[in-house]
């Protein structure tokens, strides 16, 4: 459970350019994908220090080889019900663009599945549910075999406002 390359990639909403490698992971029954270039590494669950007075979906901070980084519970972020950590619970360390800066963060997911190559042709635009459900952080829906992978735009999942908010909400 370790180490993949970490470079920042530009994300565009152009479906054609979406083909590529994705790290897929599970949250409950749903399957999600993260552009491989956004992922710095995957680490096992470790003790998270709770930080007071920040939004609930931020579980706290961890010590990543001497650096202190915040970790976000994606379940809470996506309004799924909270769940006890299991042996398969992982932290995916990603690089998020915040304004001009690159911020390192951890995402807590139920389980990491695999790295998939998804062709541009297999990707469909995100569905529209009207204004009731936000889908702007979904780049597209990848169809792999008989399952559907929601490809996340991690910069938007933790949108600039929210990343800022993590620091400012009292």
């Amino acid at each position: 459970m370790n180490e993949t390359t970490a470079v920042n990639a530009t994300s565009t909403t152009d479906l054609k350019s979406l083909g590529g490698k994705y790290l897929t992971f599970a949250l409950g029954t749903e399957e999600y994908g993260l552009g491989i270039l956004k992922v710095q590494e995957i680490i096992g669950m470790m003790t998270v220090t709770r930080v007071p007075r920040i939004p609930d979906f931020v579980r706290g901070v961890i010590n990543l080889r001497g650096r202190v980084i915040p970790v976000v519970d994606l379940r809470l972020k996506f309004n799924l019900e909270a769940q006890e950590d299991t042996e398969r619970t992982c932290i995916i360390v990603v690089q998020v663009m915040r304004a001009e800066n690159r911020v390192t963060m951890g995402l807590i997911v139920d389980e990491v599945s695999e790295v998939l190559y998804i062709e541009a042709g297999q990707i469909e635009p995100p569905p529209s549910f009207g204004s009731s459900i936000r889908t702007d952080f979904i780049l597209g829906m990848g169809k792999v075999g008989n399952k559907v992978v929601m490809l996340l735009d991690v910069d938007k999942v933790l949108s600039t406002d929210e990343v800022n908010a993590i620091g400012q909400v009292v």
Binding site: T47, T49, R50, V51, P52, R53, I54, V58, G60, V61, I62, N63, R65, G66, R67, V68, I69, P70, R98, N101, V103, T104, M105, V163, I166, G167, Q168, V170
Partner: protein, 834 residues
């Protein structure tokens, strides 16, 4: 002709070199002076190109001495090779055309054919060294007649290797800063050859490097300045007054040019055309040409040569009329060398010119009566104490009456800054020849990384040595090794922390220049004193303390010190204002203080202003400390007039913010009529603090030990509630608000009964607050880590730290916590009760 005369000295030089070692500075210095002597000989022997080679070799030696070369050993070898070649050359009386110049040396300045004698991997210099540069090395001759025409600059693009340019920018900035400092020194101590040479060398090096990087503007200005300095070195002119100003201007111009090179390097584009250069060059030339030989003035015996030169240069520079010079000259002729004392006394308003003249008259008629000061005191014209003072000041003036002084006293020139700088120099002089600390330059990022890694190592080491499994099987041999490892790790940690520490000297020295400029601008006389320049601070602090200090020093000079000397004398203070900057250690903190002996803060003015701005309410009772702290509020300036320097009310709030960002605090002590002290308290290091680890529920927090006053287990009688909401604890007769950390941070399963817990009394800006925690786990040194951009600024949390078990612990921000806590309370209610 003449080559024969060189043989012997060159042989001796070769011998010296054989003995020399890169670390043997004395031997290298001998080599250097020997090279220079031979260069002189070569020049006299009409061998300019050989002189050029020798000069280049001397520069190389200098660089080895100053550790400016990457590989001193190799540079020394190269130098030996050069000298061997010179030896052969001189012995056989050959032409310099045949001279073999090691390819690895980047002194393309000689007009000799460069042969590829050595193969070097030093790629940066290869291209330069290959270039054959002719005509002969005008920049090495330092002759003002050469190459001083402001040639139109053809190319405005940067041509040099970006890496070399980058290095040049860094070095040039260092050189220029050093030059500034040395110039300030020189202003009083014109005889200070070390400083003079250092300034000369700064210009010389910049010019040389700019030359082969094709930075023509830089080269031109540096070249002119170098010529001027060379004349000063040869005692043909005196570096004072206007000549000094011109030199300062040249330094400023170079700084500007280097800055534009830097910005082009960083963001591309072309170098801007600087229209002021020709004018500056003309001024430098004018200053340089003030030679006695060209002077039409009769050299009367009383007129000291330096004085005459200065006068000429002043006129040439267009600073004063020749009439003024004539007046001053005749005055200078009329008095003897004791005159400056009278001048000083008049200047200080201690006496009037007629009294001095009378005294002089008496003295002239009765030589046996002794000194003017004594006569004046005898006459009752001045207080003997003032004479003492003036005499002391006189000591710091360069010997002999100077044109600058006379011009000042006649009100013709702006040499007030001379007098001012004289005083500021008094202190700088103590730190003597300003030994420029040379050190290996390391990228700050790498250093931080190293310090981080050391921190990691320390934690990893303690994890291993504390391991229970290991302890149970520990054989004695391993135990010894572990102890050894532990010791080494600790030493490494100490070393790591000290790596980031740098003396505050450079920052203080910048202030000296600032005070000089400010005092001049505002027409005040200010003596600037620094002490404790060697106090070491974390590099980040030294970098960031600069701006706040600039603001505060400005404040002190601009509206701390009284507007005029008369005002000061009326208040019974010396005419010359005094601003002192000091740094020292005290109680685990570093203090930086700025003290002036000016008028002090005006309580009424500040209160009126604050009332105006709605910062305080009518009738509110405020302590002095509260009032002084008001000046840190945005938009509050009590300066009567908005000046160029300060008084716009921007600044002090920023100062406070900057200092707080460094985890420091500012305090003000002020006495009306006596002056003001700004005292900045800073933590010893940004990286490591002592912390008290406390437990609340299942969470651990770290409270910086410095903010803890005490901790107590409260008894019932000490506790009281205010309107059933605010809790108070009585400490030594004072009621202190009590906050439950568990409630502030919504921690579960923490104790509810106050008497079972511990109250930690913390202090922030003089406000005491009690924090209720479950228990105190212990005290330890912790390395502060930022919580990362995303969580930066979480209220009540200053940062994180890696605990010995590898987890993250949170460090409490006491100030923020107190604000957070009191923001939640209904404060008006609290005010009612006691």
């Amino acid at each position: 002709m003449g080559m024969q005369a060189l043989v012997e000295p060159v042989e001796r030089l070769a011998e010296l070199l054989v003995m020399a070692d890169t670390t043997d500075l004395r031997a290298l210095a001998d080599v250097h002076s020997s090279l220079q002597a031979i260069e002189e000989l070569a020049r006299n022997a009409q061998e300019p190109s050989l002189a050029g080679i020798l000069s280049a070799a001397a520069v190389l030696t200098e660089q080895i001495i100053l550790e400016e070369v990457d590989d001193p050993q190799k540079a020394l070898e190269d130098l030996s090779r050069v000298v061997a070649n010179i030896q052969a050359l001189v012995r056989d009386n050959r032409q310099t055309r045949d001279f073999l110049w090691p390819k690895s040396l980047n002194f393309g300045k000689t007009d000799v054919e460069i042969s590829e004698e050595t193969t070097s991997e030093d790629s940066t210099s290869t291209d330069l060294a290959k270039e054959r540069i002719s005509p002969p090395p005008e920049e090495l001759t330092a002759d003002p007649r050469h190459g001083e025409d402001a040639k139109p600059v053809s190319s405005r693009y940067l041509e040099g290797d970006p890496a070399l340019l980058g290095e040049f920018v860094i070095e040039a900035i260092e050189h220029l800063e050093a030059a500034d400092i040395n110039l300030v020194n020189l202003e009083t101590d014109t005889e200070n050859d070390d400083a003079l040479n250092a300034v000369f060398r700064a210009f010389h090096t910049i010019k040389g490097v700019a030359g082969f990087l094709a930075l023509e503007d830089v080269q031109l200005v540096a070249h002119q300045a170098e010529n001027l300095l060379d004349l000063a070195r040869k005692h043909k002119i005196v570096l004072a007054g206007v000549v000094m100003d011109v030199t300062f201007d040249a330094v400023d111009m170079l700084k500007r040019l280097v800055a534009s090179v830097k910005s082009v390097l960083e963001s591309g584009g072309t170098l801007p055309v600087v229209p002021e250069i020709p004018a500056l060059v003309a001024r430098i030339k004018a200053a340089a040409e003030g030679k006695p030989v060209t002077s039409p003035q009769p050299t009367a015996s009383i007129v000291a040569k330096p004085g005459e030169n200065l006068g000429d240069t002043l006129v040439n520079a267009g600073r004063v009329t020749s009439q003024a010079i004539d007046e001053a000259l005749s005055e200078q002729r009329a008095v003897n060398k004791h005159k400056p004392l009278g001048e000083l006394l008049v200047e200080q308003g201690k006496t009037i010119p007629t009294q001095v003249n009378t005294a002089l008259e008496i003295q002239r008629n009765n030589p046996e009566l002794g000194k003017v000061g004594a006569i004046l005191a005898e006459m009752g014209a001045v207080d003997p104490k003032d004479v003492q003072l003036a005499l002391q000041q006189q000591q710091h003036l360069a010997p002999g009456p100077k044109m600058g002084e006379l011009l000042v006293s006649s009100g013709n020139a702006e040499a007030k800054d001379v007098a001012q700088a004289l005083r500021s120099q008094m202190n700088l002089q103590q730190s003597a020849a300003q030994q420029l600390r040379e050190a290996v330059k390391v990228d700050a990022g790498r250093l931080d990384h190293l310090v981080d890694m050391i921190g990691e190592l320390v934690i990893a080491e303690s994890m291993v040595s504390q391991s229970m499994e290991l302890k149970s099987i520990m054989p004695p041999e391993l135990a010894r090794s572990m102890a050894q490892l532990d010791k080494i790790t600790r030493e490494l940690q100490e070393m790591g922390t000290s790596l980031r520490m740098v003396p505050i000297r450079a920052t203080f020295q910048k202030m000296a220049r600032l005070v000089r400029d400010l005092a001049r601008k505002s027409g005040k006389q200010v003596e600037f004193v620094t002490c404790g320049e060697d106090t070491e601070l974390d590099k980040t602090v030294v970098d960031k303390i600069g701006d706040p200090l600039v603001h505060m020093v400005r404040n002190s000079v601009d509206h701390g010190i009284e507007a005029s000397a008369e005002e000061r004398i009326r208040a019974g203070k010396p005419a010359v204002g005094r601003v002192e900057l000091r740094a020292f250690h005290k109680g685990g903190s570093i203090y930086v203080e700025i003290q002036d002996d000016g008028q002090g803060l005006n309580r009424e003015d500040i209160l009126a202003k604050a009332l105006d701005r709605g910062l305080v309410r009518e009738g509110e009772v405020l302590s002095d400390r509260d009032v002084w702290n008001l000046i840190f509020e945005p938009g509050l300036s009590t300066a009567k007039a908005v000046t160029d320097v300060s008084g716009r009310g921007v600044g002090m709030d920023v100062v406070k913010r900057n200092i707080e960002a460094l985890r420091g605090q500012v305090e003000i002590h002020s006495e009306p009529g006596r002056g003001t002290v700004f005292s900045i308290r800073l933590p010893l290091t940004l990286a490591i603090i002592d912390g008290m680890v406390v437990r609340v529920g299942k969470e651990r927090y770290i409270i910086p030990t410095l903010s803890i006053v005490m901790s107590i287990r409260p008894e019932l009688r000490q506790l009281s509630t205010v309107v059933k909401r605010g809790e108070m604890v009585e400490i030594q007769g004072n009621l202190v608000p009590l906050f439950r950390l568990a409630r502030l941070f919504s921690v579960e399963s923490a104790i509810e009964d106050i008497q079972e817990g511990i109250v930690v009394i913390v202090e922030d800006e003089g406000r005491r607050t009690g924090l209720l925690v479950d228990e105190i786990l212990g005290e330890q040194q912790i390395v502060i880590k930022s919580l990362g951009e995303a969580l930066q600024g979480t209220q009540g949390i200053a940062g994180g730290a890696i605990m010995p078990d590898g987890q993250v612990g949170l460090i409490l921000d006491v100030g923020g916590l107190v604000k957070l806590a009191s923001g939640e309370k209904i404060s008006p209610v609290c005010l009612e009760t006691d």
